[in-house]
Symmetry: C2
Subunit: 362 residues, 2 copies
Amino acid sequence: MSTLDHFWAVVPAGGAGTRLWPLSRKAAPKFLHDLTGRGRTLLQDTHDRLEPLVADRLLVVTGADHRDAVLEQLADIDPEQVLAEPSARDSMAAIGLAAALLERRDPDAVMGSFAADHVIADPGEFRRVVARAAETAAEGWLVTIGITPTHPATGFGYIARGDALGAPGVFEAAEFVEKPSAEVAREYVDRGYQWNAGMFVVRPGVLLDLLGEQDPAFASALRGIADDPQTLADVWPTLPRIALDHAVAEPAAAAGRVAVVPGDFGWDDVGDFDSLGTILDAGNATANRTGPVVLGDPGLVQVIDSDALVVPASGRVVAVIGLDDIVVVDTPDALLVTRRSRAQDVKQVVASLQQQGRDDLT
Amino acid sequence: MSTLDHFWAVVPAGGAGTRLWPLSRKAAPKFLHDLTGRGRTLLQDTHDRLEPLVADRLLVVTGADHRDAVLEQLADIDPEQVLAEPSARDSMAAIGLAAALLERRDPDAVMGSFAADHVIADPGEFRRVVARAAETAAEGWLVTIGITPTHPATGFGYIARGDALGAPGVFEAAEFVEKPSAEVAREYVDRGYQWNAGMFVVRPGVLLDLLGEQDPAFASALRGIADDPQTLADVWPTLPRIALDHAVAEPAAAAGRVAVVPGDFGWDDVGDFDSLGTILDAGNATANRTGPVVLGDPGLVQVIDSDALVVPASGRVVAVIGLDDIVVVDTPDALLVTRRSRAQDVKQVVASLQQQGRDDLT
């Protein structure tokens, strides 16, 4: 029986995707949308990508508000595979809860956590890298899959690679570093650092033990919920809001207990409309793109002299004249017009609408 | 009894206003819209501006399709004051029909034609200039009101001034010239040429006689309709499609029979969104404008770092980030995003939609 027979996928499906407003909303976050125009949402794509590895050994952890939408989109999975967080408590609580449940359920389990709202161009290569990570995780390592950078991005954290471990393509992770400046990013890329995509592969017990070394109460609270799921509602609101990276991965790397498996399979977190445009551009390149980049019905888009990203999501005709680098996102109740270089600032509009009490629009 | 007691206003209400799409449509052209944000449409503004001069001596000439809308907007006028053209035959036919009717109705009539879709900042000064033009027209001149240029515009024709006539502020019109290049426009402005705003003041019989010298059949067809209005439907489609400028004003000027009265009352033909932005800007300047220029509810517009003209006409929120010189026009079924410097090219979108059979949108 191989490690992969006990390999479980944990899919945290959370995050507002504020920078993808007005497409992404609190009520319908990014992972519920088809952002590649291929007819599957990011969540469905994530499921499809993992299914050949895990069959039904897959857990989705999502907000209580989104549980029904997740079940609707993943029609084939058992309702028990979708865990509902009573409230958002960041990734350590979400992934830790799944770890505590799996620790009890399958003593030989190795789990991998993969966000529901990322895009991966080459799922086959992704699965090969994950399988390699799982073998290393089975030996007791906390394994992270580090993405081989395609450019000196400033929007991701990086992972410094240390010595090679025994297996080919597996290295000690020397350090996790925060999102860098443009200059530092170039240095990281030159030194062979990987992007931190938040993909962790680990035995559930190892993860919880590492957490217990930093915060024993947190680890035992998670194991307590697994022991008696009735306590979830009471215990959950007391859990710390902290990312797995900070709670476990960084201290464990400092202690020499993290491995990194480099992966090169066309990864993107679709963080904003600039990133979305790049993904759609890449998808269209093979089709000899001549017009604008359109996510939706190209018949609705009239463009003259414009290098535009247009999302015609309201059914209305969208005409764009004489504008390069432009982003137009048209939804039934809100319209965004910006440029790709200002894609990060979309969250300011959302903040402003929230201040104005327009929760209906965010 | 003064000339003004027999002064009639003729208001041609036609023209698609294609460069103001998607606000202006075939079914609801420019003159039916409130483009200044002051609560009156251009047609209503035109009526209000003329009423102190003419009371109910005002005729609107419009397409049969728009007669009901005109009557609805001008609730106080008599239905007989609104002449319906069976089809669009350009300005000579439209204004000539009104002239033929007035020639029969009031032997002492002097008429002035003023388009329904222009904006005038100072109606008092406008009326003073019109009154001066009417006195000269009563003497038998074809009088045009020439607009004193505020800049070397390339979008208007110009009028070359000749010798001063007897009355103060009245000159012979030496020549009508077509829309110039930028360089020629600067020369025209330096030489004191006026913009041709298509405003003609003339005794109806003089206008028809001048037409008769160029095209006797056209003049007698118009007089024939006035003689027996039942023949309108049959005769109308046979009339030439020609502008009054070409049919009458240009040859009459060459013959020394046209006078020009310069006017300086803040005129604009609101030809495109650049022009609209300038008008709204000027209107807002006194109000210490700090944000975007909005035609509509400013509460619907969220703007960050953008010098934008936004028309939120669908009720949806419009967010614009990091774009200068931008125009966003949001209507229930179509959206336009362009820049003010490309405002002329909006008609290309309309042409393209028509080619695609999307008459519902044009």
